[in-house]
């Protein structure tokens, strides 16, 4: 990052940093019974815009403000909703829109900390994209602020979408009820064909927008993509890895970037089971999925769909009689469908194949429900911190080529 770019970045970050200086934490503003939860979006890039689309489907939520340091992005995002106030300064937004109850933070990873802490200090519930931050220090600072805000009845939800995904919740039930039996190995990939670049007409702005390709700020594919998948394994296994090895290289996008476009990580768990995780930005074959291989069955999860592949000698279970099945070459997958029993009784089982909404919708709906019903977040600040710390270790392993130790006891202590 050159001096000009750094100044630009700091100036942009400053808009968020102003409020973070607020010394005290305000209590949560009550949500009027029957009234929607008033939400402000902070960060109106691609993920923020996607959040607006999904929030519009949730009757109990109402987006009242959008904040982005880039006025044109904020304006464009505002087109995706109705009647919102647009701001380029967080302080101004909180000052002028008093009815905000909660915020959705979708800024770049390295710009999560300031708005997260500022929002909690202002008495707002927080839904924060993951990874929570790009450094260990920032992760712990966010976690600490979220813990402190619990005393004021503030919800902090980490955007770990797998935990809200109906198919994943169903599958976790199968997994934990011993349907796969002895866990042999775990695999996952996140493959897509994309540059990971964001265009801009202004070079300084372009540099700021492309923080994912900036070696000083980015935590690479393990950080940005792996974090969501690592958490699925943490959540299913109720366990964390003890070490991670990694490698990476630039296989396709030879455009001067220093962040690998293709990586492999090998995460070891204390029980000897290993997770093999691959990611590339050069090929999209089979996209993003996670696989649990067991002695009785394999479970494959692909975010909007899931399947169980049973071994021939695995015992039959009653529900399989009604199951919908799909053929994959020589393997037959039992489609994992949320509310399958209910749908089967209505003769609508096939309509339940695949999620009707993107996974983001369910995570945001859970956040809104947590706030309005006074329930804990489905994915807490601690969950987000743990997943992010594992992702940071994986990124370090790829960058250094060394095996990085992880202390599960420390993660559990969060």
């Amino acid at each position: 990052m050159n001096d000009l770019d750094r100044r630009d970045f700091l100036a942009a970050a400053g808009a968020f940093a102003v409020v973070s200086l607020m010394p005290s934490t305000l209590p949560a503003a009550p949500v009027r019974r029957g009234a929607p939860l008033n939400i402000a979006l902070i960060g109106a890039g691609r993920q923020g815009s996607a959040a607006l689309v999904e929030l519009a489907k949730i009757d109990a939520a109402k987006v009242v403000a959008v904040c982005d340091t880039d006025q044109s992005r904020a304006d464009r995002a505002a087109r995706r909703t109705q009647g919102v106030a647009v701001f380029t300064s967080l302080a101004e937004m909180f000052d002028k829109v008093k009815e905000i109850n909660a915020v959705v933070i979708a800024t770049p990873t390295h710009e999560h900390k300031a708005p997260a802490i500022a929002s909690l200090a202002a008495g707002k519930h927080v839904y924060c994209e993951t990874p929570l931050a790009h450094t260990r220090e920032d992760v712990l600072a966010i976690h600490q602020a979220a813990q402190a805000a619990q005393g004021n009845k503030l919800v902090f939800a980490s955007a770990l979408e797998g935990r809200s995904n109906p198919i994943y919740k169903l599958s976790r039930g199968f997994y934990r009820s011993d349907a796969v039996r002895d866990l042999i190995a775990m695999r996952a990939q996140s493959d897509q064909k994309t540059t990971w670049r964001v265009p801009a007409s202004d070079p300084a702005r372009e540099a700021a927008l492309n923080w994912r390709l900036d070696k000083a700020l980015s935590i690479g594919l393990p950080g940005e993509l792996g974090v969501h998948q690592f958490d699925v394994f943490h959540w299913f296994k109720n366990d964390y890895p003890v070490s991670v090895r990694g490698s990476g290289s630039i296989r396709f996008h030879k455009d001067g970037r220093e962040i690998p476009d293709t990586v492999h990580c090998d995460l070891a768990f204390a029980d000897g089971v290993r997770l093999s995780w691959d990611a590339t930005l050069a090929n999209s074959f089979q996209g993003t999925h996670e696989i649990f291989l067991g002695s009785n069955a394999a479970i494959k999860l692909a975010w909007t769909a899931g399947w169980m592949f049973k071994e021939a000698d695995a015992p039959q279970q009653g529900w399989e009689v009604y199951a919908n099945r799909q053929q994959f070459h020589k393997d037959e997958g039992i489609t994992l469908i949320a509310d399958a029993t209910k749908l089967a009784s209505q003769g609508k089982l096939k309509e339940g194949v695949g999620l009707p909404n993107p996974p983001l919708y369910y995570a945001l709906a859970d956040f809104v429900r947590s706030v309005t019903e006074g329930q804990p977040a489905v994915a807490s600040a601690a969950d987000g911190a743990r997943a992010t710390l594992v992702a940071l270790a994986a990124h370090e392993a790829v960058a250094s080529g060394k095996e990085i130790a992880i202390d599960p006891a420390e993660l559990r202590s969060l």
């Binding site: 815009s49 519009a56 109705q82 670049r197 202004d202 309509e351 009707p356 993107p358």
Partner: protein, 340 residues
Amino acid sequence: MQRVSAAGESLRLACDAMGTRFECVLFGADQTRLRAAAEAAFAEIESLSARWSYFASGSMVFRINREAAERPVALDAETRDILRLALDVWRDSRSCFDITIAPLMRHWGFRVAPLPERGEKSLLQAQEPLSERGATPAIWGSQHLLLEETACTLAFAHPGIEIDLGAIAKGWAIDRAAEVLREAGVAAALLHGGTSSVVAIGSPPHSPRGWPVRLGPFDGSPVVHLRDSALGISAPHGRTANIAGSSVGHVIDPRTGAPTGWAGGSTLPSPAREDSRDSTFAACVHTSAAIADAWSTALLVRGSARGAALPHGLATAVRLSDTWTYSDSFAQHLSPELAS
């Protein structure tokens, strides 16, 4: 603003959205920036596709169709804007363009059965002649759409009404995509959705007059040159259904409820019916692909631009019975020998 030079290598990218293929050709010296710009443009298209899908149960359009007969449905500003445009074209074309014809598409076999999630019965029995239902269409017609622009809501006047933005959404999407490309400094690009909606930014290096685009697959089809403008094309060929032994194209005349090229069973004459073969064709050039897209459909149904309250700046071309009729402004886009 830093511009991406129009000179240099071309880059071609594609994505699947809205049930069709979107393609983009870009020229510029910096391939890295071009690719990033095209990806951002496609992301815009994919986002709109997800929101406005008629079929996806998580989409805004699906929600409107499920709930708008019971209560006003809150819209985002962009959905309100595309609905307002669709209603403008419906009114100005005298009902030759209509976003409420989905039940008719199913009736004529251009679509699969009614969506089971809504638990509805077929609104039109498959073999029921439209003439037996009386002259007043009860299950389609944009007069049944109650758009409250200030409140930003849409309601249906009665159950059974549905909207489908398919005839205008592709144009809208490539307008937004072109906006993304321009903001990224792209100076020369051609973007199309399903070959029926086209947006041109600047000119390719080899053709200063604009991007040459052939209108239709026929021998001797005219070629238009597009430069910072958009083209919408409509023709009944492509998707067809077999009706009473005849292959009929998928464009419905909202005034009659029948396909434009079908001769029986409707209550009103259809201007395009006399020429039901694949040669019927309408094209519009405008600065907005959404407007060009919607009006090309309206003109195909009308069979002529005459008498229509055309929007300012709309250039039109209609082919009927192997004869093209161009507006003066459309002729400016043609190669000189055709224009004369």
